[in-house]
């Protein structure tokens, strides 16, 4: 009981500071007339336990792209709706509220990339333990290459069950796409990779090399 009281007080005290911080990030970056509307949408998200960073990023993106004030507000509203949908999908699939913000962001990505909600639910249910980002992107990568969403999800779920580490799930989808590039049909490519599970080709070399790499001036968290 005491813990909840402390948390409630912390949230009560932190909320105005967070609001100030959000306004500080938006000022000078988006039309000033858009700030109150965007700010209130971000407050709604915060009160609902939704991640706010994707909304801030959407507003900053609109400002950088010189979008009009109504368009920026509309885009932030769309993003808020996607996060709500993502939370609902996660709860329906079995995640207990409060849902982790990172998982909501991940599922929102998956829905934006064209995964049907039932397929996302299926992946979430099959992977009850976060993080699920790699699995979602692996399925979305296949769907983006016109694979049937159910078949794509089935392969990735099977890979997880066969013991493929989550950080290598993107290599599963990459292996399937390689088979297609070599002239196999989609069904053949899926079957070929499925037969070899949990074995996978060696992970592809990361794009770029640390030699010569540099850090951007002020990277922001995703």
């Amino acid at each position: 009981m005491m813990r909840w009281v402390v948390l409630a007080w912390a949230a009560f005290l932190a909320a105005p500071l967070a609001a100030q911080s959000v306004r500080g990030r938006l000022e000078g970056r988006i039309p000033s007339a858009a700030i109150p509307a965007v700010d209130s949408l971000i407050q709604f998200a915060s009160q609902e336990g939704l991640p706010t960073e994707p909304l801030i990023q959407k507003a900053l993106e609109g400002g950088a792209k010189h979008a009009t004030e109504p368009r920026i507000v509309a885009a932030v509203q769309v993003s808020l709706g996607q996060l709500r949908d993502a939370r609902d999908v996660l709860v329906r699939a079995g995640d207990q509220p409060p849902v982790l913000p990172a998982e909501m962001t991940t599922v929102a990505w998956a829905l934006r990339r064209g995964l049907p909600a039932p397929v996302v639910e299926r992946v979430v249910a099959a992977l009850p333990r976060p993080p699920r980002a790699a699995a979602m992107h692996a399925v979305a990568d296949l769907v983006a290459h016109r694979f049937d969403p159910d078949s794509a999800a089935g392969l990735i779920i099977e890979a997880v069950r066969d013991g493929v580490p989550r950080e290598r799930l993107l290599d599963v989808s990459a292996a399937v796409l390689q088979q297609v590039q070599r002239g196999h049909t989609r069904a053949e490519a899926l079957a070929s990779v499925r037969r070899e599970l949990p074995n996978l080709p060696a992970p592809s070399k990361p794009r770029g090399n640390v030699a010569g790499a540099r850090r951007p001036a002020s990277p922001a968290p995703p």
């Binding site: 885009a75 990568d141 990361p206 790499a213 990277p219």
Partner: protein
């Protein structure tokens, strides 16, 4: 050179009886005879010793290759290095140049949650290209691509926290262009498409 009287030779060789030796030579003959007796009485040491030492050295087994190497390594040797001062200065300059020019290529040390993202785009007529996205709060300027060999292909390799990012290229400070080489695209809700880059942690 003194010539020895032949009668002394004859007396020492026993060809002349000692009584027949003239009195003035008897003392010399006696001394030489005593010296000859003394030499004859010495043991044949030096010759036998040399022979035995040579034979012992021949009979001794040759040391093993390892022992020879160890022996060579532990035996002190004098090394004489003759260096012209001009060459020393040149060598020092080369070492300094190599150190200076290679130090910048090692890149930053990556933390456990960081990875590498490489941005590549072909913009033959461009004067500047920047990668702008959720990794830098959509702020142009922090990630500038470079066309070092002036072939129209612009590149940048950056360290980012592992995660998923949306981005576009900004060409010449005003033209927003998606990365056509990116395999992942998503609608940006402003009438264009953003590219997606997934940065995987470099250390797993």
């Amino acid at each position: 050179m003194n010539v020895i009287d032949p009668r002394i030779h004859q007396a020492l060789d026993g060809e002349l009886a000692s009584e027949a030796v003239p009195a003035e030579l008897r003392h010399t003959v006696a001394q030489l005879a005593a010296a000859a007796d003394l030499l004859a009485a010495l043991p044949p040491g030096p010759a036998a010793s040399l022979e035995s030492r040579v034979m012992a050295a021949i009979r001794r087994p040759a040391p093993s290759p390892a022992r020879r190497v160890i022996g060579w390594l532990v035996t002190p040797r004098a090394i004489v290095l003759r260096v012209r001062p001009a060459w020393s200065v040149a060598f020092a300059a080369v070492v300094a140049a190599l150190t200076l020019f290679t130090a910048g290529d090692e890149g930053p040390e990556l933390a456990e949650h960081e990875g590498i993202a490489q941005f590549v785009g072909r913009f033959p007529e461009a004067q500047s290209v920047h990668a702008v996205g959720t990794f830098n709060d959509w702020r142009p300027g922090s990630i500038a691509l470079k066309d070092q060999d002036h072939d129209g292909v612009w590149r940048a390799t950056v360290v980012l926290p592992a995660g998923t990012y949306e981005y576009m290229f900004v060409v010449d400070g005003e033209r927003w262009v998606p990365d056509h080489l990116a395999e992942r695209l998503v609608a940006d809700d402003f009438g264009r498409e953003n590219s997606i880059v997934i940065v995987r942690p470099a250390r797993r």
